[in-house]
C-alpha cells in the first residue's frame, strides 16, 4: 500500500509526535504543530495515536491511494474531497485503490492532518518519523513532499467514527495564548511587562514550523544592565542557552517570537517566558495577521491546563471507543 503524491500542496510533511531527547545534539523536537489534531486523526483511522501522518499547511496536496484504506482529516478547516466530492473533516471515510484525495480552499485554521490507516511508514530516524526539513532529517527523504513521491503505508487496523465539534479545540479571536513568565522576565520593566499582556498582537508573515513572530504590540523596555561577557551588545542578547519548545524570545526587544517544533535548539536571545503546551497546538492553527494576546498564568494554572488537555484527549478516545 502506498500514497502517491500528485501535487504536494504548499509544504506538506510527514509528522508524528516528534523526536524528543536530542536537544544536546542540536536537534529540535519536530512533530505535528497541532498535536491534539494529529492524535485525533490517528484515532479516527484506528492507528496508534503517535503514528506518522501528513501535515499540510494553508494549501492541501492531491494524493492517490494504491489500495483500500481508512482516511481522516483533522485540524484546520481544509475541506477534503474524494474524487472531487466533498467529505467531512474530523470523520473517518474509506478509500479504494485509485481514489484521489484533494482539498478545497482553507476556511479556518492553518494546518490539516491527513491520517491513513496503517500510518505513513517512512523509516524511523532518531526515534521518530517526523520531518525536520532544516536538518534534512526524517520524514520522506528529509524534505517536504514533491509531486511524484510515493509514501509507503503500514498495515492498517480498524477505524471509523467522527469527532463532534464540541470535542475539538480551535483558537479564539483573538487567540489567547497562556504563558508562564520566565527566566529573563525580570529584565523588562514592570510597565513594559503589563503592556506585553495588555496589547493585542498580530501574527507576522514569518510564521512557520520554526516559530511564530508577533507584531503590533509595544516594544519592550529593558531594565538597564551591563552586558555580561559573551552576551552580545543588545539587551535582548544572552550567552547562548537551550531554547525549549514554546519559549518566547524578543530579538531587539521589538517582536516576540514563539519557538515551535522545528526551532533551533539554542541561541543567544533572552526568553521572557514559555507558552504552555496546550496552547502551542493553537499557535499551529494561526494564520498570518490573526490577532493574539498573551495571558499570564501561574505554574499551578499551567499544570491544570495540562490536565485539561489530557482530559480533552481522553474524551475523544472515549467517544471513539479507543481505550
Amino acid at each position: 500500500m502506498a500514497v502517491k503524491v500528485i501535487t504536494p500542496g504548499l509544504s506538506t510533511t510527514v509528522q508524528d509526535l516528534g523526536r524528543p531527547g536530542f536537544y544536546h545534539l542540536g536537534i529540535p523536537l519536530s512533530g505535528g504543530m497541532d498535536r491534539f489534531a494529529l492524535r485525533a486523526a490517528n484515532m479516527l483511522v484506528g492507528n496508534e495515536e503517535g503514528a506518522a501522518v501528513l501535515e499540510a499547511v494553508f494549501l492541501g496536496p492531491e494524493l492517490e491511494f494504491t489500495a483500500p484504506a481508512t482516511v481522516a482529516i483533522t485540524g484546520g478547516d481544509l475541506p477534503p474531497k474524494l474524487n472531487g466530492a466533498e467529505r467531512e473533516s474530523w470523520s473517518a471515510f474509506e478509500v479504494r485503490a485509485g481514489d484521489r484525495l484533494s482539498f478545497g480552499f482553507l476556511k479556518a485554521g492553518a494546518r490539516a492532518y491527513i491520517a491513513v490507516s496503517g500510518g505513513i511508514d517512512v523509516p524511523v530516524t532518531l526515534g521518530s518519523r517526523s520531518t525536520y526539513t532544516l536538518g534534512a532529517l526524517g520524514g520522506h527523504q528529509g524534505r517536504a513532499l514533491a509531486a511524484g513521491d510515493e509514501l509507503p503505508v503500514g498495515q492498517g487496523g480498524k477505524g471509523g467514527g467522527s469527532v463532534p465539534a464540541t470535542l475539538r479545540r480551535m483558537p479564539g479571536n483573538p487567540a489567547e495564548l497562556r504563558m508562564l513568565p520566565g527566566l529573563y522576565w525580570h529584565r523588562i520593566t514592570g510597565e513594559s511587562g503589563k503592556r506585553f499582556f495588555a496589547d493585542t498582537w498580530k501574527v507576522a508573515p514569518e510564521a512557520d514550523r520554526i516559530g511564530y513572530r508577533f507584531r503590533g504590540g509595544t516594544a519592550l523596555d529593558f531594565v538597564p544592565r551591563e552586558q555580561p561577557f559573551g552576551a552580545g551588545s543588545n539587551p535582548s542578547n544572552i550567552v547562548d542557552a537551550c531554547y525549549p519548545y514554546g519559549s518566547i524570545q524578543v530579538p531587539g526587544g521589538t517582536e516576540p517570537i514563539v519557538l515551535h517544533r522545528d526551532a533551533v535548539s539554542g541561541g543567544g536571545y533572552m526568553m521572557v517566558g514559555c507558552v504552555i503546551s496546550a496552547d502551542m497546538d493553537l499557535i499551529g492553527q494561526l494564520q498570518p495577521h490573526s490577532p493574539a494576546r498573551f495571558v499570564e498564568v501561574t505554574m499551578d494554572q499551567a499544570l491544570a491546563a495540562r490536565a485539561d488537555r489530557q482530559a480533552a484527549i481522553q474524551r475523544v478516545r472515549d467517544h471513539l471507543g479507543r481505550n
Partner: protein, 251 residues
C-alpha cells in the same frame, strides 16, 4: 513565581515553562562554568528518570547552563531542585576530562576563508600569525546546538574576543570554520552567519541517515591543523565525509 534577581547567586535553578528547568551556572561565557555544566549534565543523565529525578527526560548542557526537559505531570520540582543542589555540590570545581580528541585539517584564508585578513587585523598580527595562534590552541567542544551537530569550540584567549561582524554573510559552506567572541564553530551545513569565516575543513559534522549521525560530542578535545587548499582538496576526495579529520579515543 519567584525569580532570582539578575545579580542573585549563581548557580540558580529556575523553571522554564511547564516542561523544563534551567540550571544556570553563569550568565557570562566562562570556561570553568562550561566544564561544570558538562559535568553536571553527565551526572544528571546518569540518574535521569530514577529517584528524585523521576520525570526528568533529558539533560541538555549549553555554554553555561543545563536544561532539563520534564514530564510535567510526573516531575516533582522540589525533589528535582534538591537533587540538583546535591549534584552541584558534588560537581563543584569538577570538570570532565576529554575522552576523545579530533585533529581537523583546515585550509585557512583565500576563497575558503575570506575573513582571515580582517580577523588578523582585529588581532593586530599577520594572517599567518593568526593561523599559527589558532592552530596552537587546544580547543574543547563546549556545547552542541543551534543546528544539528554544530559544535561551539573554545574558549580562546582574550585576544580572540572579536565581536561578531556588523553584517550577515549570506552563506558559509558546510564544514566552514568561523570565529567570534573567543569561540570557533564548524558549520555542519551551509549557513548564513554574522561570524568571521576564516577557513574551510572537509568534516561533515552531521550525517543524517548514518548509524551515528553526529561527529562531535560536548567535551571533545579539538586541534585544527593548517593545510593548503590543494592538500584539503585531496583529503576531501580521499575522504568525502571526514576531509582527513582524525578522531582518537583517549585513555
Amino acid at each position: 513565581m519567584a525569580l532570582a534577581g539578575e545579580t542573585g547567586d549563581l548557580p540558580r535553578v529556575v523553571p522554564m515553562g511547564l516542561g523544563g528547568i534551567l540550571v544556570q551556572l553563569s550568565d557570562r561565557l566562562d570556561d570553568a562554568a562550561n566544564r561544570r555544566a558538562l559535568a553536571l549534565a553527565a551526572r544528571i543523565e546518569a540518574e535521569v528518570g530514577t529517584g528524585a529525578l523521576a520525570g526528568v527526560e533529558e539533560a541538555a548542557p549549553s555554554l553555561g547552563s543545563v536544561f532539563l526537559r520534564l514530564d510535567p505531570l510526573r516531575a516533582d520540582r522540589v525533589a528535582i531542585t534538591g537533587r540538583i543542589a546535591e549534584l552541584l555540590k558534588d560537581a563543584a570545581g569538577q570538570g570532565t576530562a576529554p575522552s576523545r580528541r579530533w585533529t581537523i585539517p583546515v585550509a585557512f584564508g583565500g576563497a575558503g576563508g575570506p575573513d582571515l585578513d580582517a580577523v588578523a587585523a582585529e588581532l593586530g598580527c599577520s594572517a599567518q600569525a593568526a593561523v599559527e595562534d589558532l592552530t596552537a590552541q587546544d580547543l574543547r567542544v563546549m556545547a552542541i546546538g543551534f543546528a544539528p551537530g554544530l559544535p561551539y569550540m573554545g574558549i580562546l584567549p582574550d585576544r580572540w574576543d572579536i565581536p561578531r561582524k556588523a553584517g550577515l554573510t549570506p552563506n558559509v559552506p558546510a564544514a566552514g570554520i568561523v570565529v567570534a567572541v573567543r569561540q570557533v564553530i564548524l558549520f555542519p551545513a551551509d549557513t548564513p552567519t554574522g561570524w568571521w569565516h576564516v577557513g574551510q575543513s572537509g568534516l561533515r559534522a552531521f550525517r543524517p541517515g548514518a548509524a551515528d549521525p553526529f561527529a562531535f560530542r560536548a567535551g571533545d578535545s579539538v586541534r585544527l591543523r593548517a593545510v593548503g587548499p590543494d592538500e584539503l582538496q585531496a583529503l576531501r576526495e580521499a575522504d568525502p565525509e571526514g576531509g582527513g579529520a582524525r578522531l582518537e579515543v583517549l585513555p
